[in-house]
């Protein structure tokens, strides 16, 4: 359960930026979460609700929304060169069984945007 710490980091980054813009409220936060980023979307939502309730982030209100955009994992086999959707960070080719496929996407965990007012 490292999502709590990561969610706090995300809120801190967004809050600092929102303060620079002079916003009084953060209406929504949009994160991109890769399938292979080792971050669980459900746990992020749970952490987000807990942070909202804690009252430690004054720019968040009960109405602030967390939107998650899923980035699917893609990998390329180094032997047969096919592209496939790996089920874990250690990408194993479904055709030839070769591990260590080159990851093309799915590792992202970033703040895409937020809405403030």
């Amino acid at each position: 359960m490292h999502e709590m710490g990561l969610m706090e980091d995300a809120i801190q980054i967004v809050s600092e930026d929102a303060e620079k813009h002079g916003f009084r409220n953060i209406d929504s936060v949009t994160l991109i979460v890769g399938d292979l980023s080792n971050v669980l979307p459900d746990a992020l939502q749970f952490a987000f609700e807990a942070i909202k309730r804690s009252g430690e982030s004054p720019l968040l209100s009960a109405q602030t929304r967390l939107d998650l955009i899923r980035e699917r994992g893609r990998a390329k086999c180094t032997v047969c060169e096919i592209e496939y959707e790996p089920t874990q960070y250690l990408a194993i080719c479904p055709e030839c069984g070769m591990p260590f496929g080159v990851l093309l996407s799915g590792e992202t965990f970033k703040i895409e945007s937020y809405e403030g007012s």
Partner: protein
């Protein structure tokens, strides 16, 4: 109003890890991040290691646990400086927690710093602390399955100490299979059987540390 950020959530951690690494390089301190599940024997390995190398190197330890000072007390009993990080719930150490306690250690007078991570085979593997080397400990009673079950941990480490080999007559642990599983997940990693209780295999482990120290100082 919508504001596009496109910022990595881990950026604070990446910056802190770079800060730590820079400090370790400047002070020529070899830093080893030791990880395992709870009870695999990290602290006992450190006790034995510090006991064996105390004539040659000046060592210090950062201990990470959810609660208590118990591990740090065990290290201090050997005369080595130890700082305890009580994470109060977090299941891993992150580089900022480490950066925060570094002022408590005089790195100019330390040759080797061990960071004993929170006992957990999952989250600690995801956080770069700025260390030179990541080492995982797996004990024989935990069984062979831990290697394929927690692939990221064995993928990011470069040495797997298989501890408690004195228990092999009593537990089902197949060293050949462990070697095969490890090379399938990380061909660059090395498997090293040890017993912190009997000292078996320790010479190889201590030599690995000495080589790592030489490489770190020559950088």
């Amino acid at each position: 109003m919508k504001v596009t950020l496109n910022r990595n959530v881990m950026e604070n951690n990446d910056e802190a890890a770079a800060f730590n690494r820079d400090l370790f390089n400047k002070t020529q301190t070899l830093v080893i991040n030791l990880m395992s599940s709870p009870g695999a024997g990290k602290t006992t390995i450190l006790e034995k290691t510090i006991g064996a190398l105390s004539g040659e190197f000046r060592m210090a330890v950062i201990e990470g646990d959810i609660a208590t000072e118990r591990d740090a007390d065990r290290i201090r009993a050997l005369g080595a400086p130890a700082v305890q990080i009580a994470t109060e719930g977090e299941c891993h150490l992150d580089p900022r927690m480490v950066a925060k306690v570094l002022p408590e250690i005089d790195l100019d007078t330390v040759d080797i710093l061990f960071i004993e991570n929170v006992g957990n085979l999952v989250c600690p593997s995801e956080f770069d602390l700025g260390q030179n080397h990541r080492v995982v400990v797996l004990s024989t009673p935990e069984g062979n399955d831990k290697i394929p079950k927690y692939p990221l941990m064995f993928h990011v480490t470069e040495l797997a100490l298989i501890n408690k080999i004195d228990l092999i007559p009593y537990v089902a642990f197949d060293m050949d299979k462990a070697e095969k599983d490890l090379s399938g997940i990380n061909p660059k990693s090395r498997l090293l059987p040890v017993s912190a209780k009997t000292g078996e295999g320790f010479e190889t482990w201590l030599n690995w540390i000495k080589d790592a120290y030489q490489a770190c100082v020559k950088q």
